[in-house]
Symmetry: C4
Subunit: 448 residues, 4 copies
């Protein structure tokens, strides 16, 4: 072992007094010479001719952290550098630099706590940075034209609900339109809000219906329904369509207004939420153009275009991110995902490897149920994440065994990788929460 | 970097001795002047004319915490304020205030530990408060009329089982009725406890039955059952109904007695458990009125009213909360939910966003299986929470891919948000547990 | 606020030097008088007449822990008792007792860390106790008869595989029979190991078979199978039955031998594993009696008895606990469950409350699918634990909404309650693991 | 209780001054004599004749860690050894050895933190070792023949992408073939990439199709498909087969090249990734032989051999591990699994016990649904891991109750055992992550 305590068999040599920030440390001179090339070894060699020698008190004086020095002293005694768990790694780093040591000397058992602090410092500083970006905009306020001051005030009214009561009201009003628009988007597909297209042919469907007798038996009743329309033979109720156009009109006006009052035009256009805004409006603009060109939807071509346009409308769901604009937890989530890409990749790669292996094995074991490996992918992922839909289930002895192994691997894979990603989020969230609790007028000082 | 250690290139200046609560600290005067406007900077400027100067020992004396001062000294040396992990944030705050620093000076890496203590103090103090509210009632005991003393004693007998053995027995007796009432409520819907309504027509159902041959094949047998009754053609066994009315009678008497003996009538009526009590009795009262008015249930109107009344009976399940009355873990849960509204909202909002997005995408991808976006909501939530019923499952290539992404997002969303809410509960629960272990006669001192 | 720092506006009074275990503390006399009735307040009043006064050095001397005293001093300064996180709560308690303070003075923010140590001490000491119980038996060894020494040696051979190589071999041999017996128990129900009962009638079953076309379509083929036997028309292969009787014979002999050599007969019979042993043998003994009485199984009564006897055989599965005999993790699990009854109850009660509420609501909302509340129980539990079989699934708008709420409540309930139970197990397991790593000859010292 | 504080009732004896590394400790001589046979007890007895006695300062001097000594002193005072939480267990061990104490004296409440550090040290040092094994190879570089230097350079080019830009490009190129090969393996089973075998008979299948009416009803349409081929009547598209042979050719060449340039031939062949490489090639080699021997696949024997060969091809999926070659997280996972075998076994044993018990009970309770105990295994595992496919579900009252208990046990079993395995992985991962962040040129120093 490295631990060499020869002080017992060697004749005791000169005692050295070191005063570190007021705290006295005493050791043998030989101890200090054990790790050559460091400040203390040099000091031991120079002795009274060292800069730090205090003639009066017969001691060396350093204006450094006494707690960390205690740690350093123990390194000289045992030749193993263990850190105190209650000191922040960033303090330790600074002191080690001063004493001529490096963080590489720290033993693996103490490395975790040490590097945890260093990692936190970087990421949390970056998080603070990320949250105070908005306030950069405020530097812009010192412009002096009356007109510009007006523009700036309107911009604040639109963008920062916290500035005035009216701005808050406007934000609620704006959010109402977002919610309305999303609600229309979702509900117009539901049969309560659909009417048959004029001229569509209804048909008689044969459905089945199950009911329970009080004995608990599940009984089947065959059900003949008449006057049913297939989904493609129906359209949203006109009221829904009109409301949707009202929303579109509002968002168009809002976008243009905000564009007009935006301080940086190009920055405004590039903003992710504004890109979404524009994308969500495109389907409506196209629809208007199409209706203008071919008002009666007669030609086959337009009809196909209409279908493509239907698919395009999906983008409107992105409007939900507009609701997130003023929600800080969402920003933290986005930031976590940005920072934790590596860990997320870990989850995906581990799961994907498992999925690939189990999909192949199950395909060759249960060719009857799993008709191809890609179908096995679906089964393996659904099994490993313990969703277990049960649409594809092994039915042979071999399949059961593979299924069991797959389930166990899945449980472990998820359990292994999820905490790594999640820890970051919890850290960022609690940091941001405690930051929000700080008094507003002082929070800006944190940027320093 | 901010870290400026100019002490090596500047000529060494006067050493300053500071005695903080008996522990000596020594530093250069120039170090203390680095952060102007603080107590130590002022002290360095004033020198021997400072109040704290001790002529005899030639040192400054402060009756403060030496451990925290060590931390403060390091701030002067490195211009970075890192906190020791073993000191409670509340001690640190007090000391920082004294030395003229603010918590905003603390570096982000150490902020977490610091603010954790501060947060805990507030919430745990509030939790203690919450748990000792009941004892406020006891202040009321000093009333002196004989009659009032009797009323108080009965009230204690009814409400506080811990006061006497008889009160405990009564509590068990009262709980028996609650359990009985809930059991009746649940079991009267089960076919074992139902009889056909006189005159109801039975019918022949065609059910199916599966059985397994020893080869493991699942075989279907068609089963014709005769003499089946639909649920609506049966009613609970009369014995159940009678027992239910006995319970109702007991609860009515109990409610009135408790109302009579309650010290504050209006407070009693507003109490959530008493509101539940009253709500649970309403269906019975209505039933009695209905039977009085139209004893033979002949008219169609009454029959419809009866159905509405059936739905109303659901409220009786709330009686389960009466069982929770004396269960402290339940109170902690309620308190956690109250305090963690923000975090619960986080979970709901994140899940809802995911559900909305995946529902829309799956609807446009797999129009065949998912007939509307609201149906997609159901599928997306069931998938994201890994329940995976399998009643709606994607069946096309596109659907499989979206399903996989949805599952992964769900696993992460739940993993991200659940720990944030749960941490609070674990903290409160273990705090309350260790509080309960304290000797009873001393626990009240904790309120101070 | 309580924090009263009047030291700045009051005239500075006499400084008091306190030497605690070699470390000097200095404070104002007035500070010590702030908390009356404590040892330090008394000391401040008595001054130089106190026992601990050291005339030479002009200080009070206490042979106590300096670190904890620093904490106590801060209590006198700020009137708030915060504990250092790096001291074990048990040290703190002892010191507080000495200084005349109580643990109730500790602030809620620091209470958690303090009581954690105290809780751990009790439970971990109990765990150590629990694990060293076996060695009590060894105290019995000092008996001196030759015959008793032989009996003891055989007993050791049977019970403690670690004592000799032969004992280890015997343990493996014994375990082989346990595994064999369990394997027979499980496999004799599988169709590979079953033969038709002589004279049983086979029948033609109509099964169905699904296969996948390469296009991914799932197609159904009707399948007619001949020569199928129902489960009740088959019996285990005779070889299985014979092997089972061999096992039974072995276990009978083993039980009798162990009973003969057991040091305490009554303690042996009460031992849970021996009770299981006996229980598992009963079905076989009955079978032998039955075959002796009615060798041809002719009468109807014996046949019914046989069926009851079949059900009784289930107890044989308990033999699996015999495998656990030498597995320490299992003992820890059992211990955890014993200690965490309260927390397990919490999980069950919270889940049960949720189940009850959601079962009732879903029954009244979706009467078609859920034919009674008890069926709703099943659905609610399966949903809340995210198992989600999909055998009962809501199919109406109302049911979907209730299902969503149920899923969320379930996820939270499980997440809330599981960590509380699990923490204990993790603690005990890691404690026991590090205990096992200790050198064997020294481990017994731990009992002290 | 052990805590004996007789210092109050005994007459105060001689005070002893001990200087440990510059920090003064004072105590009564009687305190030191409390634990006989230790260094301090001996010192107290020897007094001024002890080696460590310093005549000038009238104190004993030890060049040891003052913080740990404070802990040791408290052991003499209270006869209970509690450790400070902020010191690494490895420091404590060294100091305890010096003072003549053993780690067995540490109280159970502090044992956890102490042994955590010791465990981490061993495993993390082993992890570091494991990661730096590759660099051993570099020691080989000092060979001086020109030819050998060339061979080495080629080997580096092939094996270490970080050495040059060309090597990185080559690694990407090599990975492309791996991905291609895996993609072919998976996709050639999908119906998009399959063609009917010349001469195979198509057949008409009767499938079913469900669609949703806008009312939300699920309707069934019977579908007659013509021209369907069963899976066994199709073969992968020729393009796929050709691409596959290209990949095989590339891997053969790569394997031979790498074998030629490998520094240690036998070590190369034994390398797990190279074994996989060879295994994956075997099916292709056999196919080539078979085609050479019987080019028209006419005989029945070859056809059967072909089927066996198909099953053999599954091994090709192992190629995915080649992708993992340069992915450190994967190595950590493998290492974790190696180290945590005991904990993984725990998970498997606990789950298996539960599965065995619940499978037996459900079989005897619900003989109709669960036709044998092995089928019960499948159900029990799928239920305990909350996968819940729903292919086998209890349908009777007894089965429901057992199912509920099974679900709860499963949730707890998984929750109990998973964190124990996972903790290791999280620790290793974060350690390895912070290790990777170190500057490359210095990382090798860590090996010392
Ligand atoms: K499921
Ligand atoms: K599931």
């Amino acid at each position: 072992k490295k631990r060499s305590r020869e002080d017992s068999d060697k004749p005791p040599d000169k005692r050295v007094r070191i005063n570190v920030g007021g705290t006295l440390f005493e050791t043998w001179r030989s101890t200090l010479e054990r790790i050559p090339g460091t400040r203390l070894a040099l000091m031991a060699v120079l002795g009274e001719s060292d800069d730090t020698w205090d003639k009066e008190k017969k001691e060396f004086f350093f204006d450094r952290h006494p707690g960390v020095f205690s740690m350093v002293m123990q390194y000289y005694r045992t030749e193993e550098l263990h850190t105190d768990q209650n000191f922040c790694g960033n303090i330790i780093q600074g002191e080690l630099d001063f004493w001529g040591l490096t963080e590489l000397d720290i033993e693996p058992c103490c490395w975790g706590q040490y590097s945890k602090f260093k990692d936190h410092r970087e990421t949390l500083a970056a998080l603070d940075e990320n949250f105070t970006q908005q306030t950069e905009m405020e530097a812009w306020t010192e412009k002096t034209t009356n007109y510009e001051r007006f523009k700036h005030r309107v911009w604040q009214f639109i963008e920062e609900p916290s500035t005035s009561r009216a701005a808050k009201l406007y934000a609620v009003f704006s959010m109402f339109f977002v919610v309305l628009s999303i609600a229309i988007f979702c509900l117009e597909t539901y049969h309560w809000f659909r009417v048959p297209i004029p001229g569509a042919k209804s048909h008689n469907a044969t459905g089945y219906d199950t009911y329970f007798a009080p004995t608990g038996d599940q009984c089947i009743k065959t059900k003949h329904k008449t006057g049913q329309y297939e989904f493609s033979a129906t359209e949203p109720h006109p009221a829904m369509t009109y409301l949707d156009y009202v929303c579109a009109a509002y968002f168009t006006i809002e976008y243009l207004t905000r564009f007009f009052f935006a301080p940086g035009k190009w920055k405004f256009i590039k903003g992710p939420l504004n890109v979404i805004d524009l994308l969500c409006l495109i389907p409506h603009l196209i629809a208007i153009i199409m209706v203008t060109v071919d008002p009666y939807g007669s030609s086959k071509d337009t009809s196909n275009l209409f279908r493509a346009f239907l698919a395009l409308r999906t983008v409107r769901i992105l409007r939900i991110f507009k609701l997130m604009k003023h929600y800080s937890a969402f920003k933290i989530l986005v930031y976590t995902i940005k920072v934790s890409t590596k860990e997320l990749l870990l989850l995906v790669i581990f799961l994907f490897t498992g999925v690939l292996i189990f999909a192949s094995i199950i395909f060759y074991t249960e060719n009857d149920t799993f008709d191809s490996i890609p179908v096995g992918f679906w089964w393996a992922l659904v099994t490993m994440t313990t969703v277990g839909y049960g649409d594809k289930v092994p039915r042979t002895e071999g399949g059961y065994i593979i299924g069991c192994v797959c389930v166990l691997c899945g449980v472990l894979t998820v359990a292994f990788t999820v905490p790594i990603v999640v820890n970051n989020f919890t850290l960022y969230y609690s940091h941001a929460q405690s930051r929000i609790k700080l008094p507003v007028h002082k929070r800006k000082e944190l940027k320093r």
